[in-house]
Amino acid sequence: MHQSGVDIFLRSLMEEGVDTIFGYPGAAIVDIHHQLIQAPIRHILVRHEQGAVHAADGYARASGGVGVCLVTSGPGATNTVSGIASAYADSIPIVVFTGQVPTALIGNDAFQEVDIVGITRPCTKHNYLVTRIEDLARVIKEAFHLAASGRPGPVLVDLPKNLMQSTAPHTSAAAVDIKSYQPTYHPNVKQLHKVVELIQKAQKPLILAGGGIILSKASQALNRLAHIINAPVTATLMGLGAFPADSPRWLGMIGMHGTYRANMASAACDLMIAVGVRFDDRVTGKIEGFAPHAKIVHIDIDPTSIRKNVPVTVPVVGDCRVTLNRLNRLLQEAGLFWSPDSRESWMAEIETWKQTHQMRYEQADVIKPQYVVEKLHALTDGEAVVTTEVGQNQMWAAQYYHFNQPNCFITSGGLGCMGFGLPAAIGAQLARPDRVVVDIAGDGSIQMNIQEMATAVQYDLPIKVIILNNQYLGMVRQWQELFYHKCYACTKMEHTPDFLKLAEAYGAMGLRATRPEEVVPVLKEGLSIPRTVIMEFMVEPEEKVYPMVPAGAPITEMLLV
């Protein structure tokens, strides 16, 4: 039996269990869209291809699965690049299908031809240009396998138009066999024995959790480890939710905008067990001042992450979940356990840091952005899935929405890509129709993909967009205030649209609070409306995110409130 390229494509996607695609049509890909509407796969028509990729990213993170995009060649493909780079930086499994001009025209500067495989080579885990229909089923299978396995990441598949129209005998793709790609899931037990030894010797252990915990679904194992060895836990921005914020062992986030005690603990600990992190500069601050007294155990599935930025005492290559489970078993078999009242002086030290510098902000006669996030947390019982834009809004979300579960904090961490939050919220809401999904946004970032309001309304998605309107590109303004003599060059939003009217124009609902006492009523009302809602909070324009470690300083050198 013969099948067209489109048939093979759709069948392959169904075999992968794909039920949702974020896409945008165009000449080079329309053959697929033409048949897609008859397939049992829902197509979400975004308003910009960047939105499609961020939505797929949000979908992947909220569901724990793979997100899928389908866009046309040329400008459709180039529009995906920021989204792909963001997913790459955060190791999010997505597969992006791009249309391409017919194979006979490739290289001829044809209409809407770009070398998207060349363009995205450094920001994909892998990518393909399929030139033979016989390869199509195999490549799609490989793409999904690569995206989701090992250290996950985006994979792009470029599909020339003629391939979709041509036919080939149907064959099912065999199981994936890439001899040069064999991620190490199981840790070397010898290394784990060394870890056990270090744990036994440690007086001041600290666990540092990263996004790898969430990606490998290792939260329970992490919890268990913290319980067995009675160690305090901090996390990177990407690791928020990996460990419950209501645990007494939780120190809060580490890094440039981390809590005082988390940063101080990292500098004082004598053993750091880092799991699924990559020691980004926003986490370590000045490398020489990072965890100076600690032996470092680094567990990660990607060997390139280990010893890239930070010297490591015991490297362990392995999947975070498999490795932590194994480590926990070794500890248990050895009869090792530290009761919650052990490590008294270490806990006391941490408690002092907590008492001296609580995460706090001054209440005032204007709305404080932190207050909005705090109230949002209270009114949603900490159960919302929160996406963010980038900047101060993102950091306040990270600091004041105390995440207790994985897959609930969805942010562009590594790339810091403004315009991420709204489309990511769309993806998250589609993955989790049962949850309240909130995009915590800034007045600047929200305008980068505001067009996706139409998408949210078209698909009746009751996402809540919370704009913390400080009338500035606030995070940049904060740098200018602190490090550039208060010269607010190009950061004042001199003109901003009326977000309430804009919401209405999109067919959504708009609410605004300008006074502190209006915050709770607006949140309550907005959260109660089962439609797309924008809630705009006119916040203190010059509020800053604290603590702050100046770029390049050791993370103990924090500017505090």
């Binding site: 080579r121 001899k179 890239k308």
Partner: protein, 168 residues
């Protein structure tokens, strides 16, 4: 810790597919690694290529380079030949001015270096020399006073040495 910068010869076994070279070169340029020389060709198997790549870096950088190369999906194997026995060869074609009074001297040097004259023109000889980098540099230096018109050189190619005795 500062380690000393060292030259490393890496032998990469890769899938012979379009774009592989560009992934490797892109990795080096994107991450600021150094490429001294690079040689690519098919192996005995048509779907597998061998890339011999000479790079410079301290221990940490070389470790990152090897890990990053291994991470590329199309790279099957990365072998660092540096601290093990290997044979390495470079080749050069040297076009040297062959004045009548110099010809005997050129041929004598060609002989000493076990090189060959592969093209004889009215004014120039083209000399082919094979060996390690040192040898090629020496010959080029010796021929320079006679007037070198142009030189084409390959990068290094290398293979690990085999055991001299059979292990039991």
């Amino acid at each position: 810790m500062a380690y000393k910068t060292e030259k490393h010869i890496l032998s990469l076994i890769v899938e012979n597919q379009p774009g592989v070279l560009s992934r490797i070169v892109g990795l080096f340029s994107g991450r600021g690694f150094n490429i001294e020389s690079l040689c690519v060709a098919e192996t005995a198997e048509a779907d597998i290529s061998r890339i011999t790549l000479v790079t410079l870096g301290d221990m940490d950088i070389i470790e990152q380079i090897k890990k990053q190369l291994n991470k590329l999906i199309n790279v099957i194997k990365v072998i660092d030949l540096t601290h093990r026995p290997f044979v390495a060869r470079d080749m050069a074609l040297i076009k040297v001015r062959a004045r009548p009074e110099n010809r005997a001297e050129i041929l004598r040097m060609v002989d000493i270096f076990r090189a060959r004259v592969v093209d004889v023109g009215a004014l120039f000889y083209t000399v082919e020399v094979i060996g390690d980098l040192e040898k090629i540099r020496s010959l080029i230096n010796l021929l320079t006073p006679m007037g070198i018109k142009e030189v084409a050189r390959t990068g290094t190619i290398a293979l690990p040495r085999e055991l001299k005795k059979r292990s039991k």
